[in-house]
């Protein structure tokens, strides 16, 4: 969208401002808007956000200015008020204001109509604005980094190894820096473990384990974030064995160090070593990363990435997260073309890259972060748009009824000289007033909904903390109010203004039965039911998909186990012997707790993000390339028992496997099938981590879903802690009772051995599987709410239409019953016309669902988007509800006293 176009749009919008204010300020405002546009991100989306915010500002000000004028006028001060009040309004605006005032007063006479219409539209606008605020905050708004459109994430695709990760080899990172010309700068980050930091803070206050990551000196500069206190890291601090320095998050600085501004330059105790604090990051800074990002995460504490670039493993080992900032005026395609050339050169130079078929893929940072959330959010946005349409249909119907009931009033006004335009304008103003009041109510709902969302914290929804009632949200609600007013108000207003007034006055009380209105009402009902069907089919498919996800067997037993993490600092635990000693002791302590059935530990629990990849080979051919990789984990003796994972063949690790005995591994079934399809894996040799490092397979276990509940991804290799130690271990304690009830005893068991150790992430194992389903659950929850809302609104709609039609025929029914017709017959005739409507709607709705089904496919798991069972079930439920809504008014009329009915006419 060009700047010129946006400026023109803004200029058009200024028409809503009071005229003389506009005359004085329009050109200065346009100029200020132009500067805001140039200052905003250069992306289309960023500009659109600026336009929306500015539009919200203009509309809000226009409303405010008029409100002031009204209140000033009512208190008789209109001519005193200062000169930007619209007291020299052109006649049209003045008339509009008068109509609006008139409408609000007229609502006092029909409070039920006004309340139902405003609530219905408010529900629709509120739900739509809520979803919009999430869509805007997550998908549209630029990232909170300076000029974030130029940030790019670097992915390495190792085609032959089926590994696609935003991870880069350190030497490649250096090569990019030297070879690339399209990037201003590259920066890298990795886990703190990569530089030997565990993240245990001691000294003042209780020991605390905090998330830590390591970054190159320019990392925050490339992101466009400057420390609020102190400075960035320097290049010298990145040297191997360089100084011990840290940068703290604002949160850690606040909670642990009481915002002490003199902390910079002083040292804190990290892993029992003094580290000098050199900087504090701004409040609200979050490192946003794609879900696949490796080792590095948003942290409370940052250390320099002191990587030894002189001693590195083969180039297909990737553990740096690399991001780059594009040069000004360079497009992504140009940068990608350059990186393709660099990849080609690297493949030609390094066999590891040649073998793995390495390719470099650049992904815009924003896209990378929100790509998982995007399909669900867009689907929800579509769904909620349907709810708003149904709400509009209901209100349009209400307005048709009201128009019919007011025909006499309108006829009198027209007879007294009101033109058709005047009447139509007044009716339209009524719609706009309903729309605006509805939007006000809707904004309250949106605000409540946003607070609820922030409290619920749906997992996998990035940027949740950034959501809020921004200018764009206000602008959207205003636009929605006006658009819906046009949708539900135009047809009834046109219709009412067109009716021949003399006929109305002549005909007498019974009115509004023209064929035209009836057809309009029927169309509204058909539309409503059809749209509800589309929504309910979507909801039904989601429910089935979620059920399938719940039935997934993840390869372990999630219930009945407590987990927690222990990290051992270098000081006190310098080597493998001490680490093993600690975990042996911990194992004994935990196993002795009442109710405990099994105890085990693992370097990283399943479903907790990316796991280190270990290269492996099982025969000469795979050893020559050494380009297969598996998820590698270090485990203690009882791990598989504690997880409830089935051992398929061979044995588990025992105390017989120790540092001096032969190195052994346990593999999972995918690896076993791949390497030894026709023979037993037990006793076979595997090379892991480096060529010619042979280990013997002693067991085969079930595959545990490690990244995602939906699919098995990669082979897995387990080695005993006694042969390869790990300082970070997540313990799993299986118990007969409620897992969390063990928490105090577990903490005491750790502290009985070493009271300086933090015990983190005390959670039931089940919490991890629940998190893994969280995204689907969130989408499902909202879809269910929207589907339910649609069903209720549609039922109310059809009830209203049939009820009205039946009332109109009550005279006829009275005569027919008086002449001896059986009430059942009358009910049947009403039901027959209702059934025709319902069948037509279900036919249309089913076709529309089929047409839209494909857009849902990405969100479904083990359920086809064309699942006939779901379609049939939804059609039956909807038909039952709709027919019930027909039956009730039919029954009521048929059972009423014909004499009373005829008298009342």
């Amino acid at each position: 969208m060009s700047l010129g176009l946006l400026r023109r749009l803004y200029r058009r919008l200024l028409i809503v401002l009071p005229a003389d204010f506009r005359r004085r300020n329009a050109s200065a405002m346009e100029e200020a808007f132009g500067e805001a546009l140039e200052g905003s991100a250069s992306s289309r989306v960023g500009r659109l956000g600026t336009l929306l915010s500015a539009a919200g500002d203009v509309v809000a000000f226009a409303v405010l200015a008029r409100w002031r004028w009204f209140t000033a006028r009512r208190s008789g001060r209109a001519h005193h008020s200062n000169d930007h009040s619209p007291n020299k309004e052109p006649p049209v605006l003045k008339a509009l204001a008068r109509d609006a005032w008139f409408t609000i007063r007229s609502f006092r006479k029909a409070p039920a109509f006004a309340a139902v219409a405003i609530l219905t539209i408010g529900l629709g606008i509120g739900a739509t604005t809520l979803v919009f605020s999430v869509v805007y905050g997550v998908l549209l708004r630029p990232l909170p980094y300076d000029d974030s459109d130029r940030l790019v994430n670097v992915w390495n695709d190792l085609i032959e190894e089926r590994q696609f990760l935003p991870a880069v080899h350190p030497a490649d990172f250096r090569d990019y820096q030297q070879m690339s010309e399209t990037f201003q700068e590259f920066a890298a980050a990795s886990g703190a473990q990569a530089v030997g930091v565990q993240g245990v803070l001691t000294g003042e206050g209780p020991p605390q384990h905090v998330d830590a990551s390591s970054v190159t000196h320019n990392f925050f500069r490339v992101l466009g974030v400057d420390p609020i206190l102190g400075r960035h890291f320097t290049e010298d601090e990145e040297a191997v064995n360089g100084p011990n320095v840290v940068i703290l998050s604002h949160e850690l600085w606040s909670t642990r160090y009481g915002r002490d501004s003199s902390l910079v330059g002083k040292s804190v105790q990290l892993d029992s070593q003094p580290y000098t604090v050199v900087g504090v990051l701004p409040a609200g800074f979050r490192l946003l990363l794609p879900d696949e990002a490796f080792l590095v995460k948003h942290s409370d504490l940052w250390v320099p990435l002191q990587q030894d670039y002189n001693s590195l493993p083969p180039r297909n080992w990737t553990w740096f997260t690399v991001l780059g900032r594009l040069q000004q005026d360079i497009h992504l395609e140009q940068a990608q073309a350059e990186m393709d050339r660099i990849a080609e050169e690297l493949r030609a130079t390094y066999p590891a890259h040649a073998n793995s078929g390495m390719q470099i893929r650049l992904v815009p940072f924003h896209h990378d972060i929100v790509k998982q959330a995007r399909p669900a959010l867009l689907t929800l946005f579509g769904a909620v748009g349907f709810v708003l349409l149904i709400a509009c249909a209901n209100v349009a119907h209400l307005l048709l009824l009201r128009g019919a009931a007011r025909q006499k009033e309108l006829a009198v006004r027209s007879a007294l000289g009101a033109s058709r335009t005047t009447i139509m304008r007044q009716l339209l103003t009524e719609s706009v007033v309903i729309g605006v009041l509805g939007a006000g109510f809707g904004l309250l709902l949106t605000n409540g909904g946003l607070q609820l969302l922030t409290a619920l914290q749906p997992p996998n929804l990035p940027r949740l903390t950034e959501l809020g009632m921004s200018g764009a949200v206000w602008g959207f609600a205003t636009a929605a109010a006006l658009a819906t007013a046009a949708v539900f108000g135009l047809a009834p207003a046109y219709h009412a203004s067109r009716t021949d007034m003399t006929d109305v006055l002549k005909e007498g009380a019974r009115s509004g039965r023209t064929r035209g209105t009836m057809r309009a009402r029927n169309l509204l009902v058909i539309g409503e039911i059809a749209i509800s069907l589309v929504l309910l089919v979507g909801t039904g498919l989601m429910i089935r998909s979620f059920k399938a996800l719940q039935d997934v067997e993840p390869g372990f037993e999630p219930s009945g186990a407590l987990t927690f993490r222990v990290s051992l600092p270098n000081s006190g635990y310098p080597g493998g012997t001490e680490i093993r000693g600690f975990f042996d002791e911990l194992h004994t302590q935990l196993a002795g707790l009442p109710g405990v059935q099994a105890v085990g530990g693992v370097s990283q629990l399943p479903l907790t993000g990316s796991t280190p990849l270990w290269p492996y080979a099982y025969d000469d051919e795979t050893a020559s390339n050494f380009n297969l990789s598996a998820d590698g984990k270090t485990v203690t003796d009882g791990y598989f028992d504690a997880m409830g994972a089935r051992l398929l063949e061979g044995r588990a690790f025992t105390t017989q496997d120790h540092a001096q005995s032969d190195p052994v591994v346990i593999v999972e079934e995918m690896l076993a099938r791949r390497a030894w399809p026709n023979e037993s894996p037990i006793g076979q040799q595997l090379q892991i981590l480096a060529a010619n490092t042979f280990v013997t397979v002693v067991g085969v276990v079930e595959h545990m879903r490690n990244y995602d509940l939906r699919e098995d991804l990669r082979e897995q290799i387990y080695v005993p802690l006694s042969q390869r130690s790990s300082r970070n271990v997540s313990m799993v304690v299986r118990t007969a009772g409620e897992p969390m009830s063990l928490a105090p005893a577990v903490r005491n068991a750790v502290w009985a051995i070493d009271e300086s150790l933090p015990v983190d992430n005390l959670r039931p194992l089940e919490a991890y599987t629940r998190d893994a389903m969280g995204e689907s659950q969130f989408t499902l929850m909202l879809m269910t709410v929207f589907g339910g809302l649609a069903l209720v609104l549609a039922a109310v709609g059809i009830y209203g239409v049939i009820s009205y039609a039946v009332d109109q025929r009550s005279h006829e029914f009275g005569i027919r019953i008086a002449l001896g017709a059986r009430p059942e017959r009358l009910v049947r005739s009403v039901m027959a016309s209702g059934t025709r409507l319902v069948l037509a709607s279900i036919g249309i709705g089913t076709l529309a669902s089929l047409a839209l089904a494909r857009s849902l496919e990405g969100l479904l798991f083990e359920v086809s988007a064309f699942d006939p069972g779901t379609y049939a079930a939804v059609a039956v439920v909807l038909a039952a509800v709709a027919l019930l809504a027909c039956y009730l008014p039919a029954r009521r009329t048929a059972s009423s006293d014909p004499v009373a009915t005829l008298k009342s006419e």
Partner: protein, 117 residues
């Protein structure tokens, strides 16, 4: 103007007065200065900005700079504003009030939590 001193000043007005306290500025310049003053927290969008400027002018807190004393080469589309004596008084009174509040808060140790551990 008599009642003004007893009321608190709208934050937006306070920031605008503050921005004008050291030099005359035009609209976009005020927007930038307020952004800088508030660490990017407060962004004044055009309608609210000019609405506020007009109201403040009506209250005598600021005044529009006549054409002949504008900076040289300034775009004709821009409107320059200057703080008035009355505006300075109100700004100082409000700053005083805020300072008093901050002092009271500091005395109760709720500000900045100067190292409680």
């Amino acid at each position: 103007m008599a009642g003004r001193r007893n009321q608190t000043l709208k934050p937006r007005w306070f920031q605008i007065l503050l921005a004008l306290s050291d030099q005359n500025r035009h609209g976009s310049d005020i927007v930038r200065e307020v952004l800088a003053q508030t660490d990017g927290e407060l962004r004044l969008w055009p309608a609210m900005l000019y609405g506020s400027l007009e109201q403040m002018a009506a209250e005598g807190l600021i005044e529009e700079v006549p054409d002949h004393v504008r900076p040289e080469g300034a775009s004709a589309r821009r409107r320059y504003f200057a703080i008035t004596e009355s505006g300075r008084g109100v700004l100082a009174a409000e700053a005083d009030r805020l300072d008093g509040l901050a002092r009271a808060a500091r005395a109760k140790n709720v500000l900045g939590q100067e190292r409680s551990t």
